[in-house]
Symmetry: C2
Subunit: 285 residues, 2 copies
């Protein structure tokens, strides 16, 4: 039986530390505040907005949710972002994407200040993740993976880590985070010749493919730690990850469940970023 690396204890421990930092900010008269910007009524966005709201409320972080109709113009959206950039009472801005097709994702990303980019979508944040300069913020889900490894005392130094997936939201940033933690990192993707040959020799596998059953028993080996980033809908209609958990779990040493794994740490990372943004802004005053 593999150890289940549940997200809830990670989020709880992070929340303890976040509360202390919020309290120091409140003492200085600063209420860390997140603004969310949503276009349309996507179920996933609304669900995440609600989760983020609950998390923030439990930590003393204010959240101000802005919702626009599906046909909002790009100009209105860019103007809103500009106002949020300038508003000193707002420390972090989360913009739900993908946006409708009539709105340029590039323009929206370019409009947001990296200082408030708590979900790591701007070029400034990307460069910060790539260079390790600490500018901007890492995409929350990518950082949730390393928060889990840290919490469960899994040291990455010298370990072989295989990251499945090369997306900008997870695969690429998590690779950089793991590299900065001194792992030997291999990035695999759809063009990788023999996935199993790569994954079977890993110490840690991060599955961030976006398809159910992407990592099966033929891909794993005893002793491994599996971080499952996927959020998919299985054939039975239930939520499932990228890993064939029922068959993989008996073989490996530890695995994050879906649901209840990486996903449940993401809003804690978001809250942490809002607090960090507020702290950085306070240091500039």
């Amino acid at each position: 039986m593999a150890e289940l690396l549940k997200g809830a204890p990670v989020a709880a421990a992070m929340s303890e530390r976040i509360r202390e930092r919020v309290s120091l900010l409140l003492d200085r008269g600063i209420t860390p505040t997140l603004a969310t910007v949503r276009v349309g009524e996507n179920d996933g966005d609304i669900y995440y907005e609600r989760s983020a709201g609950k998390r923030c409320a439990s930590l003393g972080i204010e959240m101000c949710s802005m919702a626009f109709p599906e046909d909002v113009s790009e100009d209105v959206l860019l103007e809103t972002i500009d106002q949020l950039n300038q508003d000193e009472s707002i420390h972090g801005v989360l913009i739900f994407r993908p946006l409708p097709k009539h709105i340029s994702d590039d323009n929206v990303r370019a409009a947001l200040s990296p200082d408030k980019d708590v979900d790591g979508i701007t070029d400034g944040s990307m460069a910060g993740v790539f260079t390790g300069s600490g500018r901007g913020f890492c995409p929350c889900t990518a950082q949730a993976c390393t928060e889990i490894l840290d919490h469960y005392g899994i040291d990455c130094t010298g370990k072989r880590v295989v990251v499945m997936g090369r997306s900008l939201v997870i695969g690429k940033p998590v690779s950089q985070l793991l590299l900065s933690k001194n792992a030997t990192v291999t990035v695999c993707h759809t063009r990788t010749r023999d996935l199993g040959e790569e994954t079977r020799r890993a110490d840690i596998i991060v599955a961030a493919v976006g398809h159910a059953h992407s990592l099966g028993p033929e891909h794993v080996a005893p002793g491994q730690v599996i971080i499952d980033v996927g959020i998919n809908t299985g054939e039975d209609g239930n939520m499932c990850g990228d890993v064939d958990t029922a068959l993989v779990e008996p073989i490996v040493s530890a695995i994050t469940p879906v649901p209840g794994g990486v996903g449940s740490v993401t809003t804690a990372v978001l809250a942490l970023h809002v607090v960090e943004a507020a702290e950085r802004a306070a240091l500039k005053l």
Copy 2:
């Protein structure tokens, strides 16, 4: 005997293509122009400045070299960069680094426009390399590695590539370039547990460590392609790469020599970037 992947034929083929593009620019009244900014009298900088000058002259690219004394103030340097950003007759700017300690590298990098950043030192260029957005430019030496692979018809798709080194100048950007060429990329470094176990199973090895004799016969296997990025001074006082070439060359299938390999392609990439910068600027007019 391994095939020697010499840089000169790569640079010559690139120069042919660059000349055609320069000629189209000249027809439109645009002379692609590079400005170099050097502080102090470092031998390596002066050598590279001279090589770049020769390459540019042979291609119809203007080069304007600015040299400052070692004790130049940061303000003067930043003002110079600002003027170069605004000067429409300058398309690319190469700043020699490292700079003296009294000058902030971060401030200098932040001052340069990514549009003119032909050696990929700005955050804008870093983000461009990381995201594949095409913004800014890739560091020239990193791109020289993939130009060599392309020239010699070495397809990266599905290949196992091991990059030794995780520097911002070479290791990290070349990893991203190779990933975008659909290689399965592993980044190794000083904390990698068993370097040989990683490198021996690679199809292609990029050695970018910065120390002589970092890749020896115990690290390689028949059939491999070795790209040696190192420029070091050997015990005999002669220039050598990161690879123990005398012992490695009889084993592998192909290898870049040092000198005469990656280094001799770098100024061709620089010239290409100046032309691209001039073309992009012309498109904006």
